[in-house]
């Protein structure tokens, strides 16, 4: 049957859209001009159109005068609140505060510094990462040296001195010290404890003056696999560094030399490992997040190391413990010794590429050196500022119901001046990971062999780790 003779075919076909017909006709014409067929021609045209559209709509550049990265959500929200008063003092100036994940702050910023890409005007960097920015020739470090500004305004004495150490870079070629960060905090360490459980056990925390007292009590209260006295980890990390700094030890000294195998480090290791390994251990690491929350709620942990920032984490994440928790100073290593240590920290740096360094400095002072703003922020973060003037503010001295009515700001402030220095190096990351390996290896040894040969093993591991760090440092030709 001829096609034209098919009955009712015209009626069966749907009405054609004029646009579709026009497009089809265009595609047919295009196919005539393009020898590889209709489909490749359409792909080519679409690609060209997409490229043209993208070229015509470039990503808009921010209109802000200052761009500021922070990695902590508590800081971010606090700065957003404090920003309007700054913008009111500087009419016509706009600040763009961006919340960036802390690993991204480090990796993206480092890559941007290395490759001369766009960087923000101001950045908050976590203490353990700060040193890694100070590698290479001092003139190529991406941050501005803040020392001249701090000295000119007499600020060095108004802040806790030891807190400048982690952000100071000792240039071995010139012997000069460069200060690249304004300290955000002090982070004194106390011990948080389950007050209700301690009272039930008849424990008087005032009697826990030294670690010896504490460990003795720990041996009595610890029930293996059910209840532990403390949250130190057998892989090192925060707990070990807290103990090391309390003894005035560290991974590096003020001149940037590796001190991982110093007598203090050995003494700390020999003291620490039997607490986290072997049959008489009194500590267990509950991890972070939900696992940590449950360990405290269940009474699995009786005490935990608590720098000021962690006290806010507890309030937010473990609300059920309100009124059952309290804080005490760290037990001293020896009678009359230091009752605190340091854990964590943040610096604020101004980048060399900032087009408005003076405005950035003004904002830095507004966020970090304004006692009223700082005191208000303490209510939201529990973070004791490095500026000593702010400690007298009423907000710092308020009793906190969560902490059994203790004025925690005052408790932290009493210890703040005694916080030890943490010296840094561009190799701080590497040294920290080596030290964690050493603690883990020693814990494993102690689990298997106990005290037999332990001191020699620990000394040898410290030496090997320190030598490895020094070998890597020696490769630095800058």
């Amino acid at each position: 049957m001829a096609e034209a003779d098919r009955p009712g075919e015209d009626e069966a076909q749907p009405a054609r859209c004029p646009c579709a017909s026009a497009l089809r006709a265009l595609a047919d014409r295009l196919g005539d001009w393009f020898p590889f067929g209709k489909a490749p021609a359409i792909i080519l045209v679409l690609t060209a159109l997409a490229a043209a559209w993208l070229a015509a709509h470039p990503v808009e550049k921010t209109q802000a005068d200052l761009r500021f990265w922070t990695f902590a959500d508590t800081h971010y929200f606090a700065y957003l609140k404090a920003l309007p008063s700054f913008e009111a003092k500087h009419p016509g100036k706009r600040v763009d505060i961006q919340f960036v994940h802390w690993t991204a702050v480090t990796s993206r910023l480092r890559a941007a510094f290395w490759t001369d890409l766009d960087v923000p005007d101001m950045v908050e960097v976590e203490i353990s990462q700060a040193g890694s920015f100070f590698r290479g020739p001092a003139e190529e470090v991406g941050f501005v040296d803040l020392r001249p500004r701090l000295e000119a305004e007499g600020l060095l004495d108004r802040m806790v001195k030891t807190r400048f150490a982690p952000y100071t870079y000792h240039d071995r070629r010139t012997g000069e010290d460069h200060l690249y960060g304004l300290p955000h905090d002090v982070h004194p360490v106390m011990l948080a404890y389950r007050r209700d459980l301690f009272e039930a056990e008849g424990v008087d925390v005032a009697s826990l003056e030294t670690w010896d007292d504490f460990v003795r009590l720990g041996r009595r209260l610890t029930i293996p696999d059910k209840r532990y006295m403390l949250d130190f980890a057998d892989t090192g990390g925060g707990g070990f560094e807290v103990a090391l700094y309390q003894r005035d030890g560290g991974l590096f000294d003020a001149a940037g030399e590796c001190t991982m195998d110093s007598p203090v480090a050995l003494e700390t290791l020999l003291w620490y490992v039997p607490l986290v390994a072997g049959p008489d251990r009194i500590a267990d690491d509950p991890g972070w997040g939900q696992s940590w929350v449950k360990a405290i709620e269940d009474g699995y942990l009786l005490t935990w190391t608590c720098p000021d920032w962690r006290s806010k984490s507890a309030e937010q994440q473990i609300p059920r413990m309100a009124g059952k928790m309290a804080l005490m100073p760290l037990p001293a290593v020896r009678p009359g010794g230091r009752r605190t240590s340091s854990w964590g920290g943040t610096m604020l740096g101004i980048t060399r590429k900032s087009r408005h360094p003076d405005l950035a400095w003004a904002l830095a002072k507004h966020f970090y050196l304004n006692p009223d703003e700082l005191a208000e922020r303490f209510r939201e973060t529990n973070i004791l500022p490095a500026l000593k003037d702010a400690w007298k503010h009423a907000a710092i001295n308020e009793p906190r119901p969560y902490w059994s009515g203790q004025p925690i700001g005052t408790l932290y402030a009493r210890l703040a001046e005694d916080v030890p220095a943490q010296y840094t190096s561009p190799y701080i990351d590497f040294a920290k990971s080596k030290m964690s390996e050493i603690v883990a290896a020693c814990s494993s040894y102690y689990d298997k062999h106990g005290a037999d040969g332990f001191e020699a093993f620990a000394r040898e591991r410290l030496k090997a780790g320190a030598d490895e760090v020094r070998n890597v440092m020696r490769r630095n030709p800058f």
């Binding site: 020898p35 480092r110 890559a111 290395w114 001369d116 590698r135 980890a233 509950p286 490895e468 070998n471």
Partner: protein, 300 residues
């Protein structure tokens, strides 16, 4: 006239235009970085801006670097488990799922393949939770049977890190490799089985003398692919160990080490040396595997 000229122009230049995207991408993102990394291998750098020529110092340092040897050892152990544990399991599963008696075959196949669809990041996060001390699923199950204490830290103890990584990779990749074997099994000539059965061969002999020789090309391909993939291991340990090498560097792999040196420490020169050593090592290993498998042997 114009149309004819246009057609001539297109015929002359179209091949270049069509291959241009690949060629440009390859030149910019593969060939140039490779050449650059070869040059960088002779420099100590802090990022690309500051560099000092050091000749063969990076190669000398590599030979005396204990962390590099640890990374190679860990990666090799992982690769051995991949080849000698994962692939036999994949083949076993494929054989099972190829059996005629099995019901819901497609559902089983999808079930075993689906972990691969999740991606390494998700799987790493999932298994970090499973291996967590106290609240982790594994500890909950094992401690309820009194096999281990509930606070066993699988990713915090040196001797348990590698088994944890192997178990995670096993869960993720067994189904993926199974698909290759399944395709190969389905392509085996059924007449060969019939002939073998007529000759009195039992199931084991049929598998050994018919199935294995028939799937050998695919098996060699999977072994080489799996070895190369194992030596590129990065995301799983990086995420499960939270950007650390794990206790006593038990989770440090060669690519992780390269990343740490190049992108965290900024020592791009040394990272280049690590990268080239890895590439040459994998190349040699793959050639040896193919040689042993008789890939280039002429058929008689």
């Amino acid at each position: 006239m114009l149309r004819q000229r246009l057609f001539r122009w297109q015929h002359r230049y179209a091949p270049y235009l069509f291959t241009a995207p690949f060629v440009i991408t390859f030149l910019v993102f593969a060939l140039y970085p490779m050449a650059k990394s070869l040059v960088l291998a002779f420099y100590v750098t802090v990022g690309p801006k500051s560099s000092v020529f050091v000749g063969l110092e990076n190669f000398r340092f590599l030979l005396s670097d204990p962390s590099f040897y640890v990374a190679v050892k860990n990666t090799a152990v992982f690769a051995l488990f991949s080849v000698f544990l994962q692939l036999p399991l994949s083949l076993g599963l494929a054989t099972l799922l190829n059996a005629k008696f099995l019901r819901l075959r497609n559902a089983w196949r999808f079930g075993f393949f689906s972990p691969y669809l999740l991606g390494q990041v998700f799987v790493a996060v999932l298994f970090s939770v499973i291996f967590a001390p106290r609240l982790g699923l594994l500890n909950q199950v094992l401690s309820s049977m009194a096999l281990v204490p509930s606070n066993k830290d699988w990713l915090g103890e040196a001797e348990r890190v590698m088994p944890a990584l192997v178990m995670t990779a096993l869960w993720m990749y067994v189904g993926f490799n199974m698909i290759y074997f399944l395709a190969a099994l389905q392509a085996v000539d059924k007449d060969l089985y019939d002939a073998a059965a007529v000759d009195g061969a039992d199931a084991i002999r049929r598998f050994r003398h018919v199935t294995l020789p028939s799937i050998k090309p695919v098996a060699v391909f999977v072994v080489v692919l799996s070895t190369i993939g194992s030596f590129q291991l990065f995301e799983l340990p990086y995420l499960m160990l939270q950007n650390t090498s794990g206790p006593e560097q038990a989770g440090l792999t060669v690519v992780m080490y390269l990343y740490q040196k190049g992108f965290e420490a900024g020592d791009l020169g040394y990272a280049s040396v690590v990268g080239w050593t890895l590439a040459l090592g994998v190349l040699v290993l793959s050639l040896v595997q193919m040689l042993l498998a008789g890939t280039w042997r002429k058929e008689k």
